[in-house]
Each structure stands twice: as structure tokens, then as C-alpha cells.
């Protein structure tokens, strides 16, 4: 608040005073501070007026700020968050994740029987909610083959031989056949506390019965997961109080859930599967970013993928390289035009300016379709070349669906964004400088190179950053004229969002692209200032 004191005033002396309630300033008292008309010290009165002015300015900006925040900034932040978010394993297999964390994986990296039992419960529930396939495709990004493993076992898990437990319990005590009795037991807090696994499985099963089948759990027989959990609870030495029937399970025939899984698909004995599940069980992951940077986690740590699998780095390098080529061709084409426009009399320059502004205002789709039509194998350009005789009819130039097509079309589309800043900088160069240089004996070229060109460099800088920023994020034009060799990183992001549905990877790639663009934006703001962007 110290900058609001009277010392800061001279810049705009009239406004705060005019905004004062009284509008007039009293004479200075003999000794005290200067007072305003209402008797307050002038200093605080001015500070108050300034504060009010600031608040009014903010109040005018606030609605838009809130709007942009909700409609634009939050979505982007949400996307950034998605690139590290990894809830699916922890949400779908909550019991397994806990059990795995405590499992030393002693038997050659394969979990113990109790972890498998928890996994059985999880997978059984996930299969009911049909979530195991989503989990499978998520984990398939990290290790191929997991998707089919989950799908296949998910189908089988309801038919596992765990029904022997239900039969044996019902034989031991007929009360187990009564759904209502189960509901009563599971409402008793003492029994619940004594049988943690059973309670957990029963609650999950009851949830499925209510939500998916719209049944009343008190009228339905509990599923095998409940009996299996009960067997494990009792085998662990649990002693549920009455009215729960006392059953001795030591004589029960038992079955190894671990064996059942491995029998169903031997991949469950593959330590790599469990390593993958364990690695992605945390709610946050750097996996997407590693993937986006063509890296992978191996038992030895993080390392680059083999050379032939580095898809994304190739794509990033290509995007940057092609953007550079496009920026450079834009400078090459824009410079002569801007020079001509800046040196012609205003009347002619304004007419020629229309030729620049018309493409600028024409729909991007129109310009892209124009290039698609022109560059085709049977298109106008190839027809003309064949007609002139430069190219024979049989080997027409391949101008589309490759990098050439993208570069030609994008140079054309972004050219106005180079011409406009360049022109506005060149127009401020006084023509007398060139005349002075010539009268001092400089040749035309020297006068241009030593006087004009250095003065136009800020325009080149502004235009280049603008064109470069726009070009590295381009999607539409590369998609249509780029084929496979001429696409940018944006096209890959779009592919992951709409086709492969690997949203986390799309978000990670997007985050990297965003960081690059924002860094350039920052540079642009420093060099040119965002308020100096000229439009038309």
C-alpha cells in the first residue's frame, strides 16, 4: 500500500482528486497534515479514492475473469491433472492393491494365496460391474497382452470351483441357506468385527444385488465370494459370537485360489503381470509422461525405448523441425511483401493490403480444401506442370499426404501472421534513414543491409514467434494434407483422445506441447508485449 501515498501521485494528479467526495482541498493547518474537505487527512483520502478506483476496475474485469477461468483455465488444469492421475487400478482392485503392497512376492515374484484370494474378490466384483475390461485396456498400454488376460479370466471367474465352500457350509448348518439369517448376521456389529473378510465380501455382493440386479439381499443366496471369504476368516481363527452358527472348518475340503487362476491362464504366474499391476496401483503416476518421452520402466530403472520404438520423440522433433521450416519460408515470403507495402504510397499499399487480409479472413477450412484440391495427383498444379511439360503424365509429383503438402499449405495459411507484424514494424522506419544512408555514399544494398534490415529485425522476431507458436499446435491442415509423414504432435493427441482412448497419454503429450507453447508465449510477451498484437 506504500505506493499509494502522495509520492506516487504526480503521474495522474487530477483523477483521484476529482473523485474525492468533496472535490476540494482545504488549506493546510498550521502544524497538522493536509486535510481534505471532510476533515480526513488528504493522504488517506487519496489512498481511499485510489483503492476505490482499483476495485472498480477489478469489478469490471471480474466477470470475464471468472468466465475464462471456468470455461478455459479449469479445463486445461483438469487436463494437466489427468496426465498424472491413475485411479483406475486403485479403484477397481482396492483389496488387491493393499494386499500386494504387503506381499513380499516370495514365490518367484508371484503373490501368495491370500493376495490371490483378495484379487479373486476384486475381480469378481469388477466383472459384475463390467469394469475389468477397462482396467485391462488401461494396463495394456503398459504391458501388451494384459487386456485379453483380464477379459478371459473375467469371464471365467464366476465359474471357479469355489462353490465347494457354499455346499460344505450349508451341509454343516442349514441356517447358511437362509438369506434372511445372513442379513441379520451382517447387521450385527460384533459379528462384523469378528469376520472382516466376510463382511467386506458380503457388503460388496449386497451392493451388486441392489444396484445391478435390483434385488433385496435379504432374499437372495450370497454368492461364492462370500462363502470363500467366510472360510478364510474361520481358517484364520476367527470366532464369531452367537447367533452366528459355530462351524469347525478344519475338516473342510479346500481349494487354492492361486492354482485356480494359474490353471485358467498361466500368465497369472508371470511376475511381470504383477509387477505392472503393482507399479500402476498408486493413484498418481509418471507413467504417461515416461511414455510420452519414449521411456519405459525396466527392472534396472527408467531408460529410453529401443531406437525403432521412439514414436513420440520423432513426432516432437518433426513438429519442431517442420514448424521451423514453415516459419523460415514465411519470413522469406513475407519480407519482400512487407517491404513493398511499407515503401509504397499509402493509397497503393492499402489496396495491396486487401490481398493479404483476404486470405487472413478466409476460413481455414476453405484454404485447406483449396490446397487439397490444388495439390492432388489429378489436381490443378500437377495438370499445369504436365501441360507445360516439366513433368510427364506418368510420374506426377506427390505433393499431398506428405511433409511437402503440409509445409506448402501451412506456409500459405500462416503467411498473413508474418506479414502483419512485419509490416507494422517496417511502417515505423522513417524513409529518410535510407535516403540519408544513400546521400552518405552507401550503395542500395549497403543502405538496406546496414540501416533498414537491422531496424526491421523486431518485426521478424515478433512474426516468427507468432507463426512458430501457431504452427506447432496445428491440427486441421496436417490432418487433411499431411498423410502419415506430414502429421504433427497434435494429430497424435487427437488420435489418443478419440480413437485409442488413452486419455492419460494424450494429456501428457498435451502438457509437454503446452509447456513449449507457454515458454514461447512468455518470450513473445517479453519481446513484443501481448497488448501490441495487431489484428488487421
Amino acid at each position: 500500500m506504500s505506493d499509494q501515498t502522495a509520492s506516487g501521485r504526480p503521474e495522474s494528479p487530477q483523477s483521484p482528486v476529482a473523485a474525492l467526495p468533496g472535490g476540494e482541498v482545504t488549506e493546510r493547518d498550521q502544524d497538522g497534515p493536509m486535510l481534505a474537505a471532510d476533515g480526513r487527512p488528504l493522504k488517506s483520502s487519496l489512498a481511499r479514492a485510489l483503492r476505490r478506483e482499483k476495485l472498480r476496475a477489478l469489478a469490471l474485469i471480474a466477470p470475464l475473469l471468472v468466465f475464462i477461468f471456468i470455461s478455459f483455465v479449469l479445463p486445461i488444469a483438469d487436463m494437466l491433472f489427468r496426465s498424472v492421475q491413475n485411479d483406475i487400478v486403485a479403484d477397481t482392485l482396492p483389496r488387491t492393491v493393499v494386499a500386494l503392497a504387503n506381499d513380499p512376492l516370495e514365490e518367484e515374484g508371484v503373490p501368495s494365496e491370500s493376495t490371490f484370494a483378495q484379487f479373486y474378490t476384486d475381480l469378481y466384483i469388477a466383472e459384475e460391474y463390467k469394469e475389468h475390461t477397462r482396467l485391462g485396456s488401461r494396463l495394456n498400454y503398459e504391458m501388451s497382452g494384459i487386456s485379453s488376460l483380464f477379459r478371459g479370466t473375467g469371464r471365467a471367474v464366476g465359474r471357479f470351483d469355489t462353490d465347494i465352500y457354499a455346499d460344505q457350509f450349508e451341509a454343516a448348518d442349514p441356517a447358511f441357506e437362509d438369506p434372511a439369517a445372513w442379513a441379520d448376521w451382517m447387521a450385527d456389529d460384533d459379528i462384523r468385527a469378528a469376520l472382516p473378510l466376510t463382511t467386506d465380501a458380503y457388503d460388496a455382493w449386497a451392493g451388486i444385488a441392489v444396484e445391478l440386479d435390483e434385488d433385496n439381499p435379504a432374499e437372495e443366496d450370497p454368492e461364492d465370494i462370500v462363502y470363500t471369504s467366510l472360510y478364510r476368516d474361520l481358517a484364520n481363527g476367527a470366532a464369531p459370537p452367537a447367533p452366528f452358527p459355530q462351524v469347525d472348518v478344519s475338516g473342510f475340503e479346500s481349494v487354492s485360489i492361486r492354482e485356480l487362476f494359474i490353471e485358467e491362464d498361466e500368465d497369472w504366474a508371470d511376475p511381470e503381470v504383477w509387477e505392472t499391476i503393482r507399479a500402476y496401483s498408486s493413484r498418481y503416476t509418471s507413467g504417461y509422461f515416461l511414455n510420452a518421452a519414449d521411456m519405459q520402466t525396466t527392472p534396472e530403472g527408467v531408460e529410453l525405448r529401443p531406437e525403432n520404438e521412439r514414436v513420440y520423440m520423432t513426432l516432437f522433433v518433426r513438429t519442431l523441425w517442420m514448424s521451423l521450416v514453415i516459419t523460415f519460408s514465411c519470413i522469406l515470403l513475407a519480407y519482400p511483401i512487407s517491404f513493398l507495402l511499407a515503401t509504397l504510397p499509402a493509397r497503393h499499399a492499402n489496396l495491396l493490403m486487401i490481398l493479404v487480409l483476404l486470405p487472413f479472413w478466409t476460413s481455414l477450412l476453405v484454404r485447406t480444401s483449396a490446397w487439397k484440391v490444388l495439390l492432388q495427383n489429378e489436381g490443378v498444379i500437377n495438370d499445369i506442370l504436365v501441360w507445360i511439360g516439366i513433368v510427364s503424365d506418368t510420374n506426377r509429383l506427390a505433393l499431398i499426404n506428405n511433409a511437402t503438402g503440409t509445409i506448402i499449405a501451412m506456409t500459405h495459411i500462416l503467411l498473413p501472421f508474418m506479414i502483419l507484424p512485419l509490416y507494422s514494424v517496417m511502417k515505423t522506419i522513417p524513409p529518410s534513414y535510407m535516403r540519408a544512408a544513400r546521400s552518405l555514399g552507401a550503395k542500395d544494398w549497403t543502405a538496406f543491409w546496414r540501416v533498414w534490415f537491422p531496424l526491421s529485425v523486431p518485426g521478424i522476431g515478433a512474426g516468427s514467434i507468432l507463426v512458430f507458436i501457431m504452427s506447432i499446435g496445428y491440427y486441421i491442415t496436417p490432418e487433411i494434407v499431411g498423410g502419415t509423414r506430414g502429421v504433427f504432435i497434435s494429430n497424435r493427441i487427437a488420435y489418443h483422445i478419440s480413437t485409442s482412448l488413452n486419455w492419460g497419454l494424450a494429456a501428457a503429450l498435451g502438457t509437454i506441447l503446452l509447456v513449449v507453447v507457454l515458454a514461447l508465449y512468455w518470450v513473445y510477451d517479453r519481446l513484443v508485449g501481448i497488448d501490441n498484437v495487431k489484428l488487421g
Partner: protein
């Protein structure tokens, strides 16, 4: 540069005409691809190149069939109407909010002006695919994905930077003693705004609005992700057409869009001259 002096040497003459030829070629590169679309759209055949009949200027080679298709086919009329419904709503939203904020930003004391400005301009800088991805994820969470309102909201956000830039530029030339004079004469702030400030900055507001309109009218990436089939816009339809089965009706649609941009460009030019005249600058 403008005119060749009579004493110019041969080398200077060659350079002068050579340079102009180069510039002419670059102008040709800028404008020809757009202009070639117009005659091709009158092609009587389903080709994307000039047929021998067209080159002979034979009337048989030309027809309006692609225009008839464009104006009667529901595959094109639906998207056209969607565009016409979405763009004005988005424009209105961004012009109202943007103008208010621009006025706020032009006050002499705004805390954090640079940061606010950077945030408001960011929708223009952030690659569209990233905006589209973010909006797609976020708007599906809050149930706006695939709704008319969601698309309007997204397009308004994309149009904001243009309104901010043009209106703040106009406000630089605005004499703030006029509002103080109005206040001094007893006008309320609202009256001052509508009777004094608004008429003077109107050209800037309208040209900002035109930019916002064309941004929404042209936008395809965001609507592609955010919209559902019932929000299909004209650029979306053109995009699908270009990617899947390219039909010459696209050329008719493109010609219609070129006409619209010429009209907008002309409006903008008239506004610019008017604004210069109002500010006392001589029309150049």
C-alpha cells in the same frame, strides 16, 4: 522505392522490376489458391480440376449443381444452420464480457494488469487441440459435452482475446476527460457509458465482435471434440468431407464462405476508416 527516378542505372532498373515481379508472384501465391476455388465450384462435372469444356469457356462446362446441392441437401443445411445459431450467441457473450473487461483494463490503476492480460489472451495462444482436449474432459464431467450451451461457452472463450485486443486498442485513443465531463454535467456512470463512451468505441467493439464471430464460425477442432452430431457445424461438415468422401459441394460451400469473408473484410475496412475519422486522424 515507390517510383523509379529517371537517373536510375540499368542495374537498379532490373532490380526494381525484378523485385516487383517477385512480390507479384508472392501475392499470386497468397490469393490464387483461394480464387481458384470460385470457378471450380461451378464445374458441371464431379472433378476437382478444370475440364476441357471449362477451359474453352463453354457454357456446357459450367453449372450451379453444386450450389443446388449445398442449399438443398440436409447434410449441408443442418450444419449451416447450426453455425448460424452458435456463432452469434458466442459472439454476444464474448463481446459483452470482453468490452466490460477491456474498459476495466484501460483504467490507470489495475493491480496485476500484465498477469490478467496474459490469462485473457491465452485462449488465442494455447494450441486448439489442447483447449479442445481440456474442454472435452472437463465439460463431460459437468455434463456440458455435446450440448449447444457447451459449444457456445467454448467458442465464446476462444473469441475473448480478439475482443480484448481490439477494444483495448480503441480505448488507447479514448479521451477520458470526456467521461469526467459527462459526470461533471450530472450524468450517471451508466448514462455516461451508453451515451458518451460506447458510441466512441463502437467501431472497436464491432470489429472485435467480427473477429469473435469469424473465430466461432470457422472453428472446427473444439466443436469436433465438444459437440455431438446435433451440433455439427459447417466447418465440421467440410472437415469430414475433406477427410472421408470429398464431394465438389465443398467447393460451393467454400465459395459461400469466401463471400462471407469478403463482406466481413469490407465492413471492417469501413469501420476502420470511420474510427480514424472520429478520432481526427485523416483517412489514409
Amino acid at each position: 522505392m515507390s517510383a523509379l527516378p529517371p537517373y536510375a542505372s540499368t542495374g537498379q532498373r532490373i532490380w526494381h522490376y525484378g523485385f516487383r515481379t517477385i512480390c507479384g508472384l508472392i501475392f499470386f501465391f497468397l490469393i490464387a489458391p483461394i480464387m481458384v476455388i470460385v470457378p471450380l465450384s461451378f464445374n458441371a462435372e464431379n472433378f476437382f480440376t478444370f475440364t476441357p469444356e471449362m477451359l474453352r469457356l463453354d457454357p456446357e462446362g459450367y453449372s450451379l449443381r453444386h450450389y443446388v446441392d449445398f442449399f438443398t441437401n440436409p447434410n449441408w443445411q443442418g450444419p449451416l444452420w447450426n453455425s448460424i445459431k452458435i456463432a452469434p450467441a458466442a459472439t454476444l457473450l464474448s463481446v459483452c464480457l470482453g468490452t466490460l473487461a477491456a474498459i476495466g483494463l484501460s483504467q490507470p490503476h489495475v493491480p496485476g494488469r500484465r498477469a490478467i492480460m496474459a490469462m485473457l489472451i491465452s485462449p488465442m495462444i494455447v494450441p486448439l487441440i489442447i483447449s479442445a482436449a481440456g474442454m472435452y474432459f472437463f465439460y463431460s464431467r459437468i455434463g456440458l459435452q455435446g450440448t449447444y450451451f457447451g459449444v457456445v461457452l467454448a467458442h465464446a472463450a476462444l473469441g475473448i482475446p480478439f475482443v480484448i485486443i481490439t477494444v483495448t486498442a480503441t480505448l488507447v485513443g479514448f479521451d477520458s476527460s470526456l467521461t469526467r465531463a459527462a459526470a461533471n454535467l450530472g450524468a450517471s456512470p451508466v448514462t455516461t457509458f451508453f451515451r458518451v463512451q460506447m458510441p466512441l468505441i463502437l467501431p472497436g467493439v464491432i470489429s472485435g465482435g467480427l473477429f469473435a464471430f469469424i473465430t466461432s464460425f470457422d472453428e472446427v477442432v473444439v466443436v469436433l471434440f465438444l459437440g455431438s452430431a446435433s451440433q455439427k457445424t459447417l466447418p465440421w461438415q467440410m472437415f469430414t468431407g475433406l477427410r472421408e468422401q470429398i464431394s465438389p459441394t465443398i467447393l460451393a460451400a467454400a465459395t459461400v464462405l469466401i463471400t462471407i469473408s469478403i463482406v466481413l473484410l469490407a465492413t471492417l475496412e469501413i469501420l476502420r476508416r470511420r474510427s480514424e475519422r472520429l478520432r481526427g486522424l485523416s483517412p489514409s
